[in-house]
Symmetry: D2
Subunit: 296 residues, 4 copies
């Protein structure tokens, strides 16, 4: 505690007064500026629609080159994408399914989600942010000692789908895209890596070819049956929630009794990864709880 004389008291009092003036002016200042809040616009997503957030890697072609990604598919990179997507899903209960391939991942929020009051900006920035920080955070789990050279970027968008059919068609579209690209990339890099062609020659060779031609090139020239290529490359990765029943041993102690151990069954949810077809009906029939009823 400071010792203050009479003049000190006066001084302190004066300071007090000055501070009060300063305060009220700075307080006024803040409220004077606060009108700028009203320039923010409402971007609430239409209710009763599935909300899809899709992320795409920025300049990932270059990123892949610089980090020596294997061609046509680098399983470490795919694993890291899936791991980052899983991190997003575990953070956000309302994501019912997500689908990824190459350097993109789509996240589907349930129709009735009220997360972040359905504000599009909050939904997509949160997903983009969580995914990106996870990508760097988990990098070493997939690339070990190979260093990450710079922080990568992903951009995102929000799209709404009113019906189950629309949503399934969206996922089918992404999986068909995966198929088309992977088929091309597989034969392209086979021609280069095993056939000894330059990339330009491989490109020329594939110009105008149909899927059947590509299958045929691989089969007849390289003895590769495309349909036996890994599912994760051909079908991409689908993440859903899975319910697990666990039986655990629990110590129970009732009052005035000796403790005893009992078996307890509990249900947990965890994210499971699938590399299967999502275009046909089978997947959806096997997992009937992903989609909600249309007419709700």
């Amino acid at each position: 505690m400071r010792l203050v004389g009479r003049s000190g008291w006066i001084c302190s009092n004066l300071k007090n007064t000055l501070a009060r003036i300063f305060t009220s002016s700075s307080r006024m200042a803040k409220s004077k500026f606060e009108y700028v809040r009203n320039f923010e616009t409402d971007d609430t997503c239409l209710k009763n629609c599935y909300i899809v957030v899709r992320l795409d890697g920025r300049n990932f072609h270059k990123f892949a080159e610089q980090h020596n990604f294997l061609k046509p598919n680098d399983d470490r990179a795919l694993g890291l994408m899936t791991c980052s997507a899983r991190s997003v899903m575990e953070d956000l209960d309302d994501i019912i399914i997500s689908y990824g391939q190459s350097d993109e991942f789509s996240f589907v929020f349930k129709r009735t989600s009220n997360w972040f009051k359905r504000r599009a900006s909050k939904l997509m920035t949160h997903v983009a942010s969580q995914f990106s920080s996870s990508y760097v955070f988990y990098w070493k789990d997939y690339f070990g000692d190979q260093p990450l050279l710079y922080p990568p970027g992903f951009d995102g968008r929000v799209v709404l789908y009113p019906s189950n059919r629309n949503l399934r068609d969206y996922l089918s579209w992404r999986q068909a895209d995966c198929h088309v690209n992977n088929l091309y990339n597989t034969v392209f890099w086979t021609l280069v890596q095993k056939g000894g062609l330059t990339t330009t020659q491989a490109e020329d060779r594939l110009k105008g070819t149909l899927a059947s031609d590509k299958n045929e090139i691989m089969f007849s020239e390289f003895d590769i049956n495309y349909n036996k290529e890994p599912l994760v490359h051909r079908k991409g990765t689908t993440l859903i929630w899975e319910k697990l029943e666990e039986t655990v041993t629990k110590s129970v102690k009732l009052p005035n009794e000796a403790g005893e151990e009992v078996l307890v069954t509990r249900t947990r949810r965890r994210v499971s990864a699938h590399h299967c077809d999502v275009i046909g009906n089978q997947f959806w029939e096997e997992h009937p709880n992903i989609l909600e009823d249309d007419n709700c």
Copy 2:
């Protein structure tokens, strides 16, 4: 090259046919699904407005606890925020100024920016993503051996400001917010750390006090002059582009002549950090090129 007999040829031919059928159906599939693209809506930002993207840390109160951030301000954490913001700015020429305090950072795109065709979703997800991956990437530069426990999240939003006055008022609003919060936090943690109060007692003590009262508590009881506290805490951090003239020595060799060394002056841009008042006119008069003319 495989040797194929007649039956092999037949087989291959059949396969070919089947593949062709498969192909054309999968090709049709993709185009059949592509209609879902049209569900995406256009979110182009109104032209001739400043575009502000603001990021806020998600659950950073808890994050700060778990990572033992110093109170009331942790300079390592503030440094990492600024470093991540710098990484965003260096990635995006069109950001003319950014301002951060605590766990938030605002990025201002120039009025005439046509980056990402002014699509709000792309702008804000890219900023959120780049900032987040940078935060994890540069963590060790600020926290050394202290491990990052999990990937942090930031959410974002976009706000448009039509006039210079509106934009300056936005930045003033954030800096006034910085002042109000920092004053409170400084005296609160002084009461706890130096005054020995519990957090509840400190809260009670500050209930209803004005800024002047807070200044007085610090001055009379702890001999702290708030106005001498570090500027970075009281004013936050403003990042702008700075032009640097450099004189470098360059080797020049004209044809048919011996090479010689010449002095060359070149202009570079780099991001510079300021911890000054941005509410008054002085900052803007000293940096007249940040804002564009209103009536354009």
Copy 3:
């Protein structure tokens, strides 16, 4: 044709030059200004959703007073509303159903409508415009010699509904609103017109009453069974398209033959008005073609 001498030629030539200068500057002018088009934003309605445009009369309380509308319902005014709505529907094939009560009318565009490229602004302004001009145009058909004192205004809005259930709930909401208001208005004006109460007394009398109380007042005091009141007042007006099969006589003349008359059956569509319950299932079962399948 004018006779021009040499000087005329010169003069004309000069004028020509000047005009050319003027022209090119005005042409430049227009293209110079055309950038302002890009400030228009896209307001396309999400696909696969029902688009509802609802109109509400502006200051219709006052309008009704000034035009001596009968209380609690003026059948001329209701007829004119319906007639104007019919004019809108006949102008726009894509409206599948419309519902009106009091001074409001809702128009439902089919899910798959691509009218005006689904631009919300075009849809709602066109409906508001066509309805308003029709209201004035057909006024005399309903009010005869009683003059329209000034042009009335209606404002509108657009709302999207993703599922059949949502759309039916919207129409149910409007019809429930019709019921609640009409019950109140009927008993209110009965108390005033037949019971001799002032409007203030009637208001006081009804404060806090339930629907059952209102029914009871009408029944026990005025011998009015509310359920026998005209359906148009209790249920509002629903307009839908109805298919009509017509058998018409047509003259047919084949080449080289005498003409003959044949009977031809043709299908026409026309707007039909209903004053029935649309909350329950019956109406929708009787008109299964109004709604499209949800999962499309």
Copy 4:
């Protein structure tokens, strides 16, 4: 009051009960359906921007044919457009200027307008509605006994302009459009009406001509100086608010005194029409109060 016997009482009581059931179910019904309100999205216009609502006649080419509009300009039709626009402006104080030509009219709301809480849908539908009902209402004032054959339609849109320069460029764009179209139409119909060409011949004749060529055709072949054509056709119609000072005689009677007449000066606002250039600076210098300061 009705006399009711015991059975009547029972009956009434039962009815009461039933009504109560009915009531509470219908009350529940309404609240059960009310969730559909939340499907409405917010379309508030960005603050501190000029809000322009532009209306365009729908199928006015056909409408003009059917109502025998004179070519190239029908002064009755232009007068009716202006009269309808005036009706909109008088209804809405916040419109600071409006500009019309041919079958279009643009209305500019002041930057700071908070009319209808700046909701775009409300602003544009109200303007479209009031304009359309006025068009029909005032038809006879311009077309006398010539009947209006059917209710016309106008569609609208909303565009925001952040700066005075943008707004002036918008108005310049519309006036340049007026100039280009009117010049073409004037020479086209001169060729047809005075030159005896068919419309196809006139079209061919004008293909590829510059403004100077068109001026020359009119001058050399028909002795028409385009610059002497009526300003209303060449420049369109600009409506602004004008302040009028009026000196009126008022009877004044003070208590206990004989009444006397005094002169009172009062200011009124009224809409005034101008047919002048709005592209250059003169108009804006003469009316400095239309635009607000940019940096606000």
